[in-house]
Amino acid sequence: MTDQSIYRLEAEQVNRDYCDGKISLHALVEIFERYVRERESERASDSETLRGAWGQIEIMNAINQDDPSNSSKNESKVREVIQEFLDLLP
């Protein structure tokens, strides 16, 4: 198994943990950013795209933290941006 596929497997597990309520969106954002950083340190060609996709999750995280009352309303968008990020992982 390559390092790259490990990223994806781990990220999908993290996503499942989030969907199961085991971790917060903030924790997911932190973990996913580590993947982005690793790709950036590897100077991978997809690192900018990954950073942009991660940014979308961070934006939803920021919005939810600013106004937690709307977080359930935003949940479908959150899932959407997480999936977009996962799809970009090698």
């Binding site: 950036e40 996709a53 600013d66």
Partner: protein, 298 residues
């Protein structure tokens, strides 16, 4: 000789050109007393007819506007910040602390009065929100905040705001805040990271991170929302800025010069390629988060 010639010239041209100083203009009794005292002590040359400088009368009503008072005393906050910074070089992000006082002392472009009369004047009257923001900045200079939990933090903030509202100086406000913090008891000496202190009441005198490997972990909710230089920030934005060492000046520069791209949740990503910084603002211009890198996806 020259004076004598001048005298002759004056008389020759007639009395209309005599440069007599005339009667002294009416001055206040306090000024008059100061003039007499200076003359008696020989502090002024013989024949001096002007007014000697006197300090402001503490009993006179102070008719300066509140912003003018803040302006006049702004440098006091700067000094206070410097003192505090010296005490905490090893522990605090000095830049973080310094920018927190910017709304109060940023205007002190001429703290030593070298160019009196050329200083820009503070423009609008300070709103309650600005007073609250200034008070929050001053409170952040006080290491013991949050004593007795949320009530303690609120008490300190209240004490500082009360002084500012009645036109007191920033230094007075800080002193009042320190007194309020001290009276809350020994418990106030707990470390800022003490988990028994509600996160919202912890002072900003916590470490600040930097870019890359120097980032630190800031727990969500560590900072409260606030206003810096008239711009609103969410608590999350402050958390991110603190952990990544992003200063409000960088945020402002990004907003001024960056490339704006609409994004999810009615937000706009503004990317500043010079600093490789993304600032995300909502529809009202409030900063919701910040990050290094391009988050616009473009």
């Amino acid at each position: 000789m020259f004076a004598r010639l001048l005298d002759c010239h004056q008389w020759a041209d007639g009395p209309s050109l005599v440069t007599s100083p005339g009667p002294k203009p009416t001055v206040s009794p306090r000024q008059q007393a100061a003039n007499q005292l200076a003359e008696a002590h020989g502090d002024v040359p013989a024949g001096f007819t002007g007014n000697v400088p006197i300090p402001p009368d503490p009993n006179e009503p102070d008719d300066r506007s509140f912003p003018q008072k803040v302006w006049d005393t702004a440098w006091g906050v700067g000094e206070s910040a410097v003192d505090t910074t010296v005490d905490s070089v090893g522990t605090l992000g000095d830049a973080w602390r310094n920018f927190l006082v910017v709304p109060v002392h940023d205007a002190a472009v001429d703290p030593f009065g070298f160019n009196r009369g050329q200083r820009a004047q503070p423009s609008p009257e300070h709103s309650p929100a600005e007073i609250a923001a200034a008070a929050a900045n001053i409170v952040s200079l006080i290491p013991i905040v949050g004593t007795g939990g949320r009530v303690g933090g609120a008490a300190v903030q209240e004490a500082v705001e009360a002084v500012l509202r009645r036109g007191g100086t920033a230094a007075d406000a800080e002193a009042a805040g320190r007194r309020a913090a001290a009276t809350a008891g020994e418990a106030g000496n707990r470390a800022p990271s003490d988990p028994t202190i509600p996160v919202g009441d912890r002072p900003a005198s916590t470490p600040v991170g930097g870019r890359g490997d120097r980032e630190i972990n800031v727990k969500p909710g560590t900072n409260r929302p606030g206003i810096v230089n008239g711009r609103e920030y969410t608590g999350h934005a402050f958390d991110r800025m603190q952990e990544r060492g992003i200063l409000p000046s960088l945020v402002e520069q990004a907003i001024r010069e960056g490339l704006a791209t609409p994004s999810r949740g009615n937000t706009t990503v503004i990317y500043d390629s010079i600093n490789n910084l993304s600032v995300i603002i909502n529809e009202t211009g409030r900063v919701v988060t910040t990050s290094f890198g391009n988050l616009s996806g473009k």
